[in-house]
Symmetry: C2
Subunit: 363 residues, 2 copies
């Protein structure tokens, strides 16, 4: 294709994001307009990203999609929706077809949905390739109609996705603002297939009697969380984050039939974090957890406490796979006072990462 | 003691109850006044009961309590509170001391808190022994200050505990009203100690942002449930029961730190019940579940479906203990179409029972 005289190509990297205040519920299914504002942290590109190249030339005879260099028999409906919107917005009416090549630097078993980083990188690459107007808001719009929360991966740092007006996203604070923050992702081995979040959130909307009450708490929580981020008040940041995670799983439970994403390992980690935080008796929260639509915890922690927490994880989740706890040299015996069972061989992987600066256009 | 000239004794049997609409939250800790009305089914005395004998005579020199014929070193605070109230109400000022002898016909591993049947039988026995005024409401009051939901075991059949006025209980429909209803209790083997429900409900009150929204849904649910019981509409009965169970566990989850009573086995049973109910595609609900502050499900089912459901349980919860599935002759192969994992050796016991007619005074 690159021999074509009008061949053009753009590559973009984008990373997943983790919601501190969860998105759950669409008031418009087609345009993916959310019921509530959400707030997230975009992860570091160096640790995990989707890498998407889009190209076009007059000699292409159809749209094509390669995932991990394997041509897919057809484009998903969401991808078609994104391309349709690109064509509508493009001034150049000669745009015919597009080739999309995408892969992820992180395996599906990382516990992270790759759709956010995949659609964010696709949206930015397409916006650039066709030089669409208002590139940032256009990319945000395209990412959103591809996969709701992908809109939050359009920016780095702390990102808010608004549920009002045009329902776009914006960076609240850049990554550098709170550079000592770390994210530790625990991957528990679980073969359970999660309920599709699109179906589940629709069911929550239709059946949960607590859902509206959740919505009414969101803006106040977001304002308090933004203030905590502003002054780097980790205690408040941690508490709001954990409470919103629990509230999100509460409305999932209140759905009929109930949607239960947390498992026995999730529950153990929740108990462990609370006991650990209370251990020194000084009211200082060292670690916060949040859970998306799955059993794996995302933990937030300041750099200074990372070593101790990794040592705690090695104590309570010993495993025969030496690679899991490779960052820990020795186990701290002070954890033996914690009255919780030790769970052997349940932890498959630990990912240690930090806040990222956002997507990057390559060449 | 029985040689004493003024020795008197009363024995009462009372059974546990299972809440369809859960009690969760006290607006007065001392008097145990609940935040919301609750509705329950009292179980059959023949299958499980507490058996309590109270006696008094002028020669007794202190209050004594025997549990399973073993003298306890002291009475619990709640028991003292009950006795104090009995003395306050008794016309006979000569009442000095009381001996309490209590035991349960069912083991602690039945998944049922024995405090409801224990305090109900104690309250009725004491009310009779001392011939207190307004015996029914007095017994209800005494049971309640002993252990909140014990007040619902004062009556048989379907019982409502009001959160208004005097916060007493009443029988809505007697056991005979819906005699084909059966209750199947599954006991999963779990060594987890539950969080004390007294502490947990207080924490929910203080920290859950969804708790008030739950309270506002209760009366409407109770009215609909009573109507369903009236016309024996099992579908509506089942759906409201399951939804209130989930909503109760949702506000537990929304507590900080979260209170999680359900485990992986509970979740599996929930999924199994929903798949089973949808299997015939005829919108008829055959089984409903509810969970108290623990992982063991209480299932409601009409007599006509008991055999099939027991067979389903044998298929999905095979065990090496032949006693567990003793009621099932053969396994129905039609369940192989259900796409859920088979969980071996997780089920410890099945209790099959029905609605009971309420407490009984013996001799």
């Amino acid at each position: 294709m690159s021999n074509d005289i009008d061949y053009r190509s753009v590559t973009c990297q984008a990373s997943p994001n983790i919601a501190l205040i969860k998105y759950w519920g669409k008031r418009n299914e087609e345009l993916i307009l959310p019921d509530n504002d959400s707030l997230s942290i975009t992860l570091d590109l160096n640790d995990m990203h989707s890498y998407t190249t889009v190209s076009t030339s007059s000699s292409m005879i159809c749209d094509t999609f390669y995932f991990d260099d394997i041509q897919q028999t057809k484009l998903s409906e969401r991808m078609k929706k994104v391309l349709q919107e690109v064509r509508r917005r493009a001034k150049d009416n000669k745009i015919k077809f597009v080739e999309i090549r995408s892969h992820n630097s992180f395996p599906a078993s990382s516990g992270l949905a790759s759709s956010a980083s995949a659609y964010a990188s696709l949206a930015i690459a397409l916006t650039n390739l066709f030089q669409l107007d208002n590139p940032q808001s256009t990319a945000a719009y395209l990412a959103r109609i591809g996969s709701g929360s992908a809109i939050r991966s359009i920016y780095g740092g702390f990102v808010r996705w608004s549920s009002e007006n045009e329902c776009l996203s914006s960076c609240i604070y850049p990554a550098e603002h709170w550079s000592e923050l770390r994210i530790i992702i625990l991957i528990f081995n679980s073969s359970k297939k999660p309920v599709s979040s699109t179906d589940a959130m629709q069911r929550t909307r239709e059946t949960s009697t607590l859902f509206q009450a959740r919505l009414s708490t969101i803006n106040d929580k977001i304002n308090k969380l933004i203030e905590a981020i502003k002054i780097k008040d980790f205690n408040t940041f941690a508490k709001i984050t954990m409470m919103d995670s629990s509230q999100f799983h509460a409305v999932c439970m209140d759905t009929y039939p109930p949607v239960i994403y947390l498992n026995d390992q999730s529950k153990h980690l929740i108990d462990l974090v609370h006991v650990y935080n209370q251990m020194d008796g000084n009211q200082i929260i060292k670690v916060a957890y949040t859970f998306d639509a799955g059993p794996n915890p995302f933990c937030f922690i300041r750099q200074e406490h990372v070593d101790e927490f990794l040592s705690l994880l090695k104590y309570f989740y010993p495993t025969m796979n030496d690679d899991v706890h490779k960052h820990v040299s020795n186990v701290n015996e002070k954890f033996s006072s914690i009255n919780l069972p030790i769970m052997s061989n349940v932890l498959e992987r630990i990912v240690l990462t930090k806040i990222g600066t956002g997507p990057k256009i390559i060449s």
